[in-house]
Symmetry: C2
Subunit: 328 residues, 2 copies
């Protein structure tokens, strides 16, 4: 029998989960839950009901894993603990500083209900975290570097859109090539986030808006741009739509560490992602961890898990014998 | 109390393990076992006994994990099952095609003794396998690529040394840049091992040897060189020693996969290693898995495990709370 997956929240991430389920033959999508009026929402998979979020608990025995596709700021801190009371769940909670607190809340709920809740299972946090962790475990005397991009930062794009006179905008975070090259070569400089990244902004100004002022406001915006090397391009709405409507992202996790009795050798581990679609890749990770959640719960396990707590073998639809023969 | 580590076999890998133990504060080296006369072997760590391999079973209660540093051709197929009868063990068995058989033999022994045996825990097999596996689990519709190098291939260097008139030699396996660039860009060509790698040979000829014949014999050697783009450089013994006495290696594991409801987006996952010392890095991986073996066994688990079977969290000397707060 297939693993029955449901989606809670149908934005970019929810649509990505829908596409990912289609690629995994041992799974099927059984419901999409939304806080909008269900009749206003049209999904791509035929025959799957769109159901009001109010009614989610009525479906408890029809769903094996619920994928939570809400935002980390206000949705997930409430939804993940609440839904773990009834379902195995997976989320991509990405407020790094609040993960310990989120884990604690979710763990209490999931232990009580006997369900598995996997949190922060995207790519950062998620696959990047797993690689930072492995690099540290293997090369204890070394240094970590995380570079993000080239990719669209939703938060920074939104910040530009709030400026008066801006009709629309997209912001790309770009790793600094020279910093990346230095780290890859085995050097271990101290680098701040600002030294590792530049910011490139594509802005559509409203008719008659003062572009000089807009550019100045962007470049001087504290926290978001003021300390970065920031470039601003004014383009037409058509060009923005044509060239900048994708949601690419990616980045690099590098561990540079010494080995040898006298630390005479340098070894560099690098993990990188180059993603045409940030939400679709995140969804693909969520779906692999949904499989793990289902299996672990089927074996009687419960509680809150992270990517650091899960045996890799649970993630694959293939048998252990198959993957050992084919991939080890 | 520290985890008590012993080394079985003191070649390049054994020396790497000795250095790695020194970097891990929760471990200590308690013995080195050798098949050579113990008095002929001098190790770097003060106060640690060198003991004849014959006497290994007398030490069963003094060692938490035995790291097996023998070769995959003839040593490990015997040693790993045999020593799992008395010890938690870790090996780096690397004959890919024979892993299922090795696993079966080791599992039977380790289940019977109630010990944990981790096999094939280097980098390929090992960390490369884990990354091939994760790439497949996350992006089910995609293609895998493994490139090796730039690095020294011991087997190919040995093959050259067996040619008449060759005094010494080193062979480097080098990834083909154009093939690597093609795969990184998201294309998914069919590439054989031969299309992905070239071979560069540094050869010291004996006085008066026929270099033309040696070069021809290398380039025409079946399996090893005949199908590859092979370059041969004749150099002096001094130059070989000065410039080619290291044991660097590395490589790239790339998963290129499609996402989206109509597979419209391409996502590329890349894991790479650039190692000054192949055996020291392999040893560092073995030591992290030794920690996992010790902990899993302390919790009552037994049997043969691979990198696909082990919860990442077991690999770190830090607590779960620490790594979740710092690295997730």
């Amino acid at each position: 029998m297939n693993i029955r997956i449901a989606i809670y929240g149908y934005g970019n991430l929810g649509r990505g989960v829908e596409a990912a389920v289609k690629q995994n033959k041992d799974m099927e999508l059984v419901a999409v839950f939304t806080r909008r009026p269900p009749e206003t929402l049209s999904i791509k998979t035929k025959g799957v009901p769109v159901i009001s979020a109010d009614k989610v608990f009525e479906m408890a025995d029809k769903i094996d894993v619920m994928i939570l596709c809400g935002g980390s700021a206000t949705d997930l801190p409430k939804q993940t603990p609440e839904l773990s009371k009834y379902f195995n769940v997976v989320d991509s909670f990405d407020t790094h500083a609040k993960i310990p607190e989120h884990l604690k809340n979710v763990d209490a709920a999931a232990r009580k209900s006997g369900k598995i809740a996997v949190i922060s299972a995207g790519w950062d946090p998620g696959m990047f975290s797993l690689n930072r962790f492995l690099g540290n475990a293997i090369l204890p005397e070394g240094k970590d570097y995380t570079f993000w991009g080239k990719g669209v930062s939703q938060g920074h794009s939104d910040a530009i859109r709030r400026i008066e006179g801006v009709a629309d905008a997209k912001q790309y975070t770009i790793p600094v090539d020279t910093a990346l090259a230095m780290v890859r070569s085995g050097q271990t400089p101290d680098l701040t986030t600002k030294q590792k990244h530049t910011r490139e902004c594509f802005v559509v100004a409203e008719d008659g808006a003062d572009k000089t002022r807009i550019e100045k406001e962007i470049k001087e915006m504290p926290n978001y741009f003021s300390d970065y090397d920031t470039t601003v391009h004014f383009i037409s709405a058509e060009e923005l739509k044509e060239k900048h409507s994708g949601i690419p992202h990616g980045g690099f996790v590098i561990r540079s560490g010494k080995t040898g009795f006298n630390k005479e050798n340098t070894n560099v581990i690098e993990y990188s992602l180059k993603l045409d679609s940030n939400p679709e890749f995140t969804s693909s990770v969520l779906i692999a961890y949904a499989r793990a959640a289902y299996r672990m719960n089927s074996e009687g396990q419960s509680g809150c898990k992270t990517v650091l707590d899960i045996e890799p073998i649970y993630l694959s639809s293939k048998t252990r014998e198959e993957v050992i023969a084919e991939l080890l």
